[in-house]
């Protein structure tokens, strides 16, 4: 059985030379890629088409679920004529400004705090209990407090985004520092690295992949922070648009706002991956194939 299996020239069917085998492999890879895309598009078409069809045949209530064509139409009017609350682009800009500010401040503070506490056992032992306590608060309950303290403007949303981002990045930076290879640290010390050189040239680079993993998810959290803040009280922003749409039972408006947030979050994720790949060129080739 085994003997015959070994003798059967399975691979030889497609050709014998290296070039032929490579060509066959490339063709197989291409076929597979096409198949993946086929299914991806098919699912999208079935989902959107099904939604449209169900809404048009009144199997689902358009009042609650709207329908894709209405949402697209709403996005078009919003972007061309503006919303009832002013131009769409301004709302988007406000939400972005809040998220980006919250993201940057939260990430920087999280990285600094994580590295400081990862490097200093005493600090970590003293503060870890407080971090745990504060971390157990669901962040969104802070929204009303921040609105009360900082008012309806930018600051309250940035503050909420900040706390959403800070703890995620902090936890990862801390863990990353703790996981830094002891041999690498010892090697750097013996080669002559002093405290700050050690942190900069060994600890931070080895924590970097942990930190980046958290940055990927935390931009999404920053947007959540901004939008929840806008729900609770704001004059501008995508969250406000959703709130207004809710007030007027405008399902298409709510879905349109969701689509906008989705696109923004995906674009941010894409940018983050680009930056990460540039910074991490030393790593063995990533296993993800960006199709």
């Amino acid at each position: 059985m085994n003997g015959t299996a070994l003798k059967t020239p399975v691979a030889l069917v497609r050709g014998t030379s290296a070039a032929e085998i490579e060509a066959a492999a490339a063709a197989a890879a291409l076929r597979r890629k096409r198949l993946v895309y086929f299914w991806r598009y098919l699912i999208l078409v079935v989902f959107l088409g099904g939604w449209e069809l169900l809404a048009r045949t009144r199997l689902i209530d358009e009042f609650f679920f709207s329908k894709p064509t209405d949402i697209v139409a709403r996005l078009y009017t919003w972007s061309v004529e503006g919303t009832s609350e002013g131009p769409l682009w301004y709302h988007l800009w406000v939400t972005m400004e809040e998220s980006v500010l919250g993201f940057i401040t939260g990430a920087v503070a999280g990285i600094v705090a994580g590295i400081a506490m990862g490097r200093n056992r005493m600090l970590a032992d003293v503060f870890s209990v407080y971090i745990k306590v504060i971390n157990s608060i669901p962040r969104v309950v802070l929204a009303p407090i921040f609105i009360m303290i900082f008012g309806l403007g930018l600051t309250s949303k940035v503050a909420l985004s900040f706390v959403m981002v800070f703890f995620v990045v902090f936890a990862n930076a801390f863990q990353g520092v703790r996981e830094a290879d002891r041999n690498l640290i010892a090697n750097a010390q013996i080669l002559g690295a002093k405290d700050w050189q050690l942190t900069r040239s060994v600890v931070i680079p080895s924590a970097m992949s942990w930190i980046f993993a958290s940055l990927h998810v935390s931009f999404g959290f920053a947007i959540i922070g901004a939008i929840v803040g806008e729900f609770v009280g704001a004059r501008y922003g995508i969250g406000l648009l959703i709130n207004v749409a809710k007030g007027s039972f405008d399902a298409a408006g709510m879905y349109a706002a969701i689509v906008i947030v989705m696109v923004v979050a995906l674009a941010a994720e894409y940018l983050m991956t680009l930056v990460e790949n540039r910074l991490a060129k030393w790593r063995p080739v990533a296993l993800v194939d960006q199709a």
């Binding site: 290879d181 041999n183 690498l184 010892a186 090697n187 750097a188 010390q189 013996i190 080669l191 002559g192 690295a193 002093k194 050189q197 040239s201 060994v202 680079p205 080895s206 970097m208 991490a280 060129k281 030393w282 790593r283 063995p284």
Partner: protein
């Protein structure tokens, strides 16, 4: 090569002295464990000393005492005639595992030491290229460690260590992860670098033939807690060719003599490890 200490007293002192050193650890469950006991060892200037002993007997601990990464519980450690106070810049260390910085390319890894010690980057690169040439890696300057073979990574690590021109070189089973052929090549590589630098070397290994091929003096340790069982002077003339030497009759004789000594410790070490394991399980 490197400037000797100017003090005449320090100038005559051996490179490394361990005098009746003991080192105890606290295990995670709060028990005290002795890694080495009443350990005495002398390494003269420019001498190549190998330390062999059963696995887990505390060989690596002796090195950490010299670097200042660990402190003795009792006894005295002297480096170049002076006490050990923190990490000594005259010391170089070769690690068992890969200790290259994976995010730095080959040349940046090699010049890490000079840069940490404040050398200007341009000068450091010039120096780094010289050392890369000595380990035959000039063509791989901009590669990252993950793109190199195990033997190449070890050569980068050697260049990284030797570029600081250490007067004392501590090596903790540096080649144990390599395959046998590569290991022998690395032995010759190391001997040639060492003969140019004339550093004092402590080479820890569990491979007896490796120890004999490289060293002037071989310390045999007892199974843990480690103490010196016996010392052998290896009178094989230099320069040696590590890849040939092991087939000479004299080498085989020395090897057999030391092995007879080491064998008992290896058996004792194995049964001790088993006893510890059963004790833990109980």
């Amino acid at each position: 090569m490197a400037p000797q200490p100017t003090s005449p007293v320090a100038g005559q002192a051996p490179a490394i002295e361990l005098i009746n050193v003991s080192r105890r650890f606290l295990t995670p469950d709060g028990k005290s464990m002795t890694a080495i006991r009443d350990f005495t060892m002398t390494v003269e200037r420019g001498e190549f000393v190998a330390v062999v002993g059963p696995t887990g007997c505390g060989k690596s601990t002796t090195l950490n005492l010299v670097t200042g990464l660990a402190r003795p519980s009792s006894g005295e450690v002297r480096v170049m005639g002076g006490p050990v106070d923190g990490i000594d810049p005259r010391i170089g260390f070769a690690f068992q595992t890969d200790a290259l910085f994976p995010w730095r390319n080959v040349i940046d890894n090699v010049i890490a030491g000079p840069l940490f010690r404040g050398m200007e980057r341009g000068k450091a690169i010039e120096l780094g290229r010289k050392w890369l040439a000595r380990v035959h890696l000039s063509a791989h300057e901009t590669k990252y460690p993950h793109q190199l073979s195990g033997g190449m990574r070890k050569r980068v690590a050697l260049a990284q260590t030797f570029i600081n021109e250490p007067q004392i070189l501590l090596m903790d089973e540096p080649f144990s992860a390599l395959d046998v052929q590569t290991r022998v090549v690395m032995h010759d590589e190391l001997l040639s670098l060492w003969s140019q630098s004339k550093a004092s070397v402590v080479f820890v290994t569990h491979d007896l033939e490796e120890a004999i091929a490289l060293a002037d003096k071989v310390y045999v340790l007892t199974a843990g807690p480690a103490t010196v069982k016996s010392v052998y002077r290896i009178d094989i003339p230099r320069p040696r060719v590590a890849s040939e030497i092991r087939y000479e009759q004299h080498f085989i004789d020395i090897s057999r003599t030391i092995w007879n000594d080491l064998r008992d410790e290896v058996t004792r070490g194995a049964s001790r490890a088993e006893a510890l394991a059963t004790e833990k399980a109980a």
